[in-house]
Symmetry: C2
Subunit: 148 residues, 2 copies
């Protein structure tokens, strides 16, 4: 699935997650895109992180969060984001700062940078708490299905 | 003045503004840098914006804010940021996501991207309010000096 800058944004089949159109202002001085609480971001971020210089074939993410909400934007270049809720999996191509993806808690997320030149920006609803991370995929599946 | 990833960060001579060291984690999967409230960001952002694709020689910014606080990071490539408080002017080179600059209210700010490939990320303490902008330089000087 491709989420370009002008195409209508499809619904995602992954629980709680959604694509968000972000304003992009272009003129002779370049491009400015933005997002703000609460028009585009459903939370006020307390943390941001940038991921860059990722070699081809390397995966980032590969974990879920118990409570943390995240909003991911491809700030430079392009990337693919794979979202899973235990029942559904969806891959999104992000190639513009004009589309962001809201990632709900309990979503197993994997990020593939299309080039080492790609930079991904993530805004997060809370500061870092290691206890909020689920890094083991079988544990994630067990937690989300409610089975021990 | 250059603010590299490892050099000690100098004090800025512009009222209220300062450079902030941001953690950078590097491994075989690339680079992750982050900032969070309140360890690195003195405010919880309500708005972000990205500036990219700026032609060589074009200037961005060129305004001040009455109340808004901002935190600027060069997310990709390099840029120069010129800060002025009416009495002092300082130019900073940002060429790593490992250093951010806190921009206090009432700072006239100009951004020069070193390449169209540069992407600048700004986190702002409030949502967009046109009345908060000062876009006229003589008006800025008048307001900051307290003379009509």
């Amino acid at each position: 699935m491709t989420a370009g800058e002008t195409a209508p944004l499809p619904e995602l089949g992954v629980a709680g997650c959604r694509l968000v159109r972000l304003p992009v202002l272009r003129d002779s001085r370049g491009l400015l895109s933005f997002g703000e609480y609460s028009a585009h971001l459903p939370f006020a971020p307390l943390r941001y992180f940038l991921i860059a210089g990722v070699p081809s074939g390397s995966l980032r993410g590969e974990h879920a969060h118990r409570e943390l909400e995240q909003f991911l934007i491809c700030a430079h270049g392009s990337c693919r984001v794979v979202l899973e809720d235990g029942a559904h999996r969806e891959q999104i191509l992000l190639d513009s700062p004009g589309v962001g993806v809201y990632i709900a808690p309990m979503t197993w997320t994997t990020i593939l940078h299309d080039s080492p030149d790609t930079t991904v920006l993530v805004l997060a609803s809370d500061t870092y708490r290691e206890a909020d991370y689920i890094r083991d995929y079988p544990e994630f599946l067990s937690l989300i299905s409610g089975t021990p």
